[in-house]
């Protein structure tokens, strides 16, 4: 294992694999805040070059947080398929990148090697890739999952309908649900972020969504994105739960800051399979995002791209139905501007896909970032080209509860039109029956939320 190189006559040496991984990142304000970023452009490329020559075995043997110190590292290492790993462990990261992009490498090949990869390898490949590499690589991968309906179907672009309301008002939530459905949005999930995380409030919202979906026979799944311990109590009380949601981090300490550990996730997963209403087998929903470990001071001096890949390694353990990064939510101290958010969105989507997840993206921004709606429209276009599984759909992209902006109901329709993508099949059939869509296009009736009147 060589951690030194010369580049254009200059000498560079790194102390550890972790340092090489960090310095090989494209520039991110979060890595600068953590004090682990490359000093300059030349050192960044030197780190990429050193990384390209490391073997996959080097990366497995040097997780950014040691196994003895972190349960996320242990869960990931335990899940590695050994025969697959043995068949690729002598590859360099340069070879891994070329294999992923190679003309003869198709979906099944990537699905197979995925089982032998650890997040450090997945992140390493991403670090060597250009933005277009990340699009080309991700586009090859199809990851399909089933809850009540099937997500990840080739040729489809799904959307989470996010009907958030500043006081969890039932009528307000249903107003946004009706509006979204009238635009053909809501096939991935109808998922509410609650203001009030208490059990009675969460049960009320679950019942509100459940009854509406039953009444209009909508082929989708519902979720109230409360803390998983609240959802666990809801499902134990017999509330109608399809998907169990939790935000996760790439380290044990990061998860502790979220108020969870693997035991809590195990318990919720088991309860969801036993008591939940969904057909399954995939019943978990996770959100992630670069920088969350650092914001909880739980990053172990590792970079935010590698830690993000570790979220996906942890997520995979629970065979989720949905996973999405919330790529612009965290703020300028982690992703400073449009350029960094765009890069992170493409990285996260690619890494999630290579890990085997039905990966979606909340392409978003907050009002204290150097970004606007044009920027996330651009990112959504790039991600749709990359085969992104789903986006968020919100009225005009304006989340009146979480106070940030993401993709809109209109954007979902526009992206489907531009790239000739369809809603998920069961949902599209329903939308045709409702007269909202015809041949994959919105009908003249679409956009009127009051078609849901009885």
């Amino acid at each position: 294992m060589k951690l030194k190189t010369r580049l254009m006559g200059q000498s560079f040496s790194f102390k550890s694999v972790k340092e090489v991984l960090a310095k090989a990142n494209e520039i991110k304000s979060g890595d600068i805040l953590a004090g682990i970023a490359a000093e300059n452009a030349a050192e960044r490329i030197a780190a990429k070059y050193v990384l390209s020559q490391l073997t996959l075995e080097d990366l497995r043997n040097n997780p950014v947080v040691p196994l003895e110190a972190d349960e996320v590292s242990r869960i990931i290492d335990n899940d590695v398929n050994e025969p697959v790993y043995r068949s690729i462990k002598n590859w360099s990261v340069a070879e891994l990148r070329q294999y992923i992009l190679g003309a003869n490498t198709v979906h099944d090949d990537l699905h197979r090697i995925s089982r032998g990869l650890t997040p450090e390898m997945v992140a390493a490949a991403a670090k060597l890739m250009s933005n277009l590499d990340l699009v080309v690589g991700a586009r090859k991968i199809r990851n399909i999952a089933h809850c009540n309906t099937t997500v990840g179907v080739p040729g489809c672009l799904a959307a989470r309908l996010q009907p958030n309301h500043p006081t969890d008002g039932v009528d307000g939530i249903l107003a946004s649900v009706r509006e979204g459905l009238a635009y053909g949005v809501g096939d991935a999930v109808i998922g509410l972020n609650p203001v009030d995380d208490t059990l009675p409030a969460v049960i009320r919202s679950l019942e509100t969504l459940y009854q509406f979906v039953q009444e209009w026979e909508i082929p989708t799944q519902i979720c109230v994105l409360a803390h998983i311990t609240t959802q666990l109590r809801a499902v134990q009380k017999g509330a109608p739960v399809d998907l169990l949601f939790q935000s996760i981090a790439g380290t044990e300490a990061g998860n502790k800051a979220f108020g969870i550990d693997s035991q809590i996730l195990d318990e919720a997963y088991a309860a969801g399979l036993k008591e939940g209403r969904a057909t399954g087998p995939n019943i978990m929903y996770f959100e992630t995002g670069q920088g969350s470990e650092l914001s909880a001071e739980a990053h172990h001096n590792a970079d935010q791209v590698t830690l993000e890949a570790r979220c996906y390694g942890l997520a995979r353990h629970y065979k989720p139905f949905l996973v999405n990064t919330v790529v612009g939510f965290i703020g300028p101290e982690y992703l400073y501007d449009t350029r960094q958010v765009t890069r992170a969105g493409l990285e996260d989507h690619f890494m999630g896909k290579l890990t085997g997840l039905p990966m979606g993206v909340d392409a978003c921004y907050t009002n204290h970032m150097k970004a606007d709606q044009n920027d996330i429209e651009n990112l959504a276009v790039l991600l749709t080209a990359a085969g992104c599984t789903y986006f968020m759909g919100i009225p005009m992209g304006d989340d009146v509860m979480l106070n940030y902006q993401t993709t809109s109901y209109h954007d979902i329709s526009a992206l489907r039109e531009v790239y000739d993508r369809r809603p998920l099949p069961e949902f599209e059939n329903w939308a045709e029956r409702m007269g909202i869509m015809r041949d994959g296009k919105l009908t003249p009736k679409a956009g009127d939320a009051t078609i849901f009147t009885k």
Partner: protein, 298 residues
């Protein structure tokens, strides 16, 4: 502008119903305008256009022929979400798009604003500042927003009581407008509520350029039983006045985020400030009884 839009929408509707393809219908719906002559161009009037932000979006239904207009009106009043906005093809109408951009412009500008100098004195607060020296440093260095230097800690030691039941902290956070809009009602309501329950409250502290974690430093320094920080949230579109309260029992350095209890969305359209004051007083009482916050407080 409403009339013009409606005409265009009706044309769209009619064309769409004439079995044209959806795309053709929409693209074909643009009403040709008379070319403007150079003479007309030269005539400027002194009038202003109507303020785009003056439209009450919750009462502005743009869907041309809804199945149930009454229901739509009720739906719009039930949520501040931008629903009932209609479309041209798969894109929003022009005024909807521009209003969105206007609201974003306002939000961006309120991040950069500052709470007036005399505000702290007006509400009998002790003013201190974190280690951040500017707004831009505050935005990119959250670590500095959680620290006080020796000089500012000395101010706390001299001017604040130690070991009170509840220490109140007010902070600008990401919206100066949230502080100015909510504190005048919230603070007296909350303190009066606490006093009426016989709960001792220390001198309120105002911290400039602060992150939530500053409460840990203050907790460790003044050792109150509970610290509550009232902080401006990052603005949403048209909700630059949203404030959150983070409450920590036995607040100290190294405290986990999940150990804090949070009440968010304090603003006119969410939890109004006076109500929030009463609600928080009651919540603080229950926290003192339970001797816990966050995931340990259910």
């Amino acid at each position: 502008m409403g009339v013009d839009t409606n005409i265009r929408l009706i044309v769209e509707q009619v064309l769409a119903e004439m079995n044209q393809t959806a795309k053709g219908a929409v693209d074909g719906s643009v009403i040709p305008r008379q070319p403007v002559t150079s003479e007309e161009q030269a005539e400027f009037t002194d009038d202003y256009l109507d303020d785009l932000a003056g439209i009450d979006l919750q009462r502005y239904l743009q869907v041309p022929k809804p199945v149930n207009a009454e229901l739509y009106k009720d739906m719009k009043l039930a949520t501040p979400s931008r629903i009932g906005v209609w479309r041209t093809g798969v894109r929003p109408l022009t005024d909807t798009l521009l209003r969105f951009r206007a609201d974003h412009a306002m939000a961006q500008d309120s991040v950069l604003g500052e709470v007036p100098e005399k505000f702290a004195a007006q509400y009998n607060m002790v003013p201190v500042v974190t280690k951040c020296s500017s707004k831009d440093e505050y935005l990119t260095r959250p670590d500095l927003g959680r620290l006080l230097d020796a000089e500012n800690i000395e101010i706390l030691r001299k001017q604040c009581e130690k070991g009170v039941k509840v220490q109140v902290v007010v902070a600008d956070g990401l919206s100066s407008k949230a502080v100015e809009a909510n504190i005048p009602n919230l603070l007296p309501a909350m303190i009066q509520g606490l006093n009426s329950m016989g709960i001792a409250v220390g001198t309120t502290i105002f911290v400039k350029y602060a992150r939530v974690g500053i409460m840990d430093v203050i907790g460790e320094e003044l050792k109150p039983e509970v610290v509550i920080i009232l902080l401006g949230e990052r603005p949403g579109l048209g909700t630059g006045e949203s404030m959150s309260a983070y409450i920590g029992y036995n607040a100290r350095r190294g405290m986990l985020e999940s150990e804090r209890t949070v009440v968010s969305n304090i603003h006119k359209g969410g939890l109004p400030s006076a109500e929030a004051g009463a609600h928080l007083a009651d919540l603080l009482k229950r926290i003192l009884d339970a001797k816990a916050t966050g995931v340990n407080f259910k």
